[in-house]
């Protein structure tokens, strides 16, 4: 096997442990990810007892060769984008650990758990107040957005 870059080595390790011990309701498409370590698809189920019970979502992770120093680009993709005050209808997520509060000790697994807990603590299904404006004007890459983080009441 060819020598792996540090970011590939780390992604490979994360992939192995995520496939072996996935958190409840989270499944990684291992075959696709091992084909291309820089693009992962993660399936997520709404947690029973929350507003998203029974719903299925798809997350996409994109990594640069600076991972884990550089945060992954994480968006919801597919036909079912969760209706949540921090999730735009184009799939972009307003979550501080994905930009300003990213740390190389975080992982795909901890990002997934944060998103699960963000969805689970939601009290009312609605889009962010600036959704239509944001979706029209934003960059394709959510990391280019200078997020102004919503308050944490949700």
């Amino acid at each position: 096997m060819a020598a792996m870059s540090p970011s590939e080595r780390r992604l490979q390790k994360e992939l192995m442990s995520l496939m072996k011990e996935p958190p409840p309701g989270v499944t990684v498409d291992g075959e696709q990810a091992s084909q291309n370590l820089t693009l992962w698809t993660v399936h997520m189920e709404g947690v029973p007892g929350t507003l998203y019970e029974g719903e299925k979502f798809v997350l996409q992770f994109k990594f640069t060769n600076k991972y884990p120093f550089d945060s992954p680009e994480v968006t919801f993709i597919g036909s079912n984008i969760p209706v949540h005050p921090h999730v735009y209808s184009n799939g972009h997520i307003c979550l501080s650990i994905l930009t300003d509060d990213w740390s190389p000790a975080l992982s795909v697994q901890s990002v997934c758990l944060s998103i699960v807990s963000m969805l689970s603590s939601c009290k009312e299904k609605k889009r962010p107040p600036d959704n239509s404006f944001y979706v029209k004007t934003c960059s394709k890459n959510p990391k280019k957005t200078k997020w102004w983080y919503h308050d944490d009441s949700v």
Binding site: P6, R9, R10, K13, E14, S17, E21, P23, P68, F69, D70, L95, S96, I97, D101, S103, P104, A105, L106, S107, Q109, S110, L113, S114, S117, M118, Y149, D152
Partner: protein
């Protein structure tokens, strides 16, 4: 920002999960022991290991790269405590014969190379603490204006021969303009 605490909660959740997985047979226990010596950044066994004041273990090259990534906000990747080059302790196992400080292996970063893009607030050189740029920038401005007005529409070659009356006159005029410019700058600064 509840997100931060969520992240920490999930990070500890992850630690809990790996802890549970480690219980059982002897080889599983060994695996867990190995995990305890893993770098928190590359997830490999830490090489050139250093430990932070908050007790978190890293390879020095990994931690160094992280400190370089955000030089203005150096925090522990695991717990967000303040961290810096001088506040980590190198770890020497029995295998290390030379006991060289790993921090000396990675060259110190070049001076003055990094500035945070967020700090550019639109008008560089006009803020406080930028006094040099300010006086220089504005000071040069009237010079340019005056000299070009002075030479504008003037058909003769610019520099008159030294010693002639014309040369004297030009020297005199340029001195006047110099003083006008200095006064203008002083007025800008003190007005």
């Amino acid at each position: 920002m509840a997100e931060t605490s969520e992240a920490q909660a999930s990070a500890s959740g992850q630690a809990g999960a790996s802890g549970q997985a480690g219980s059982g047979s002897g080889s599983e226990d060994e695996k867990r022991d190995e995990r305890m010596l893993e770098c928190n950044i590359c997830l490999d066994t830490a090489r050139d290991a250093v430990v932070s004041m908050c007790g978190h273990l890293f390879c020095w090259p990994c931690l160094h790269q992280w400190l370089e990534t955000r030089p203005s906000r150096q925090v522990c990747p695991v717990c967000k405590a303040a961290i810096s080059r001088d506040k980590v302790i190198p770890l020497y196992g029995r295998g290390n014969t030379k006991q060289e400080d790993p921090r000396n292996k990675v060259p110190p970063r070049p001076a003055g190379q990094r500035t945070e893009p967020e700090n550019n607030s639109g008008f560089p050189g006009f803020g406080f603490g930028d006094g040099f740029h300010m006086s220089f920038g504005i000071g040069a401005f009237p010079f340019g204006v005056f000299t070009s007005t002075f030479n504008f529409g003037d058909p003769r070659p610019s520099a008159a021969p030294r010693g002639t009356a014309q040369y004297e006159e030009e020297q005199f005029l340029s001195k006047i303009f110099l003083w006008v410019a200095i006064l203008f700058v002083l007025w800008l600064i003190f007005a």
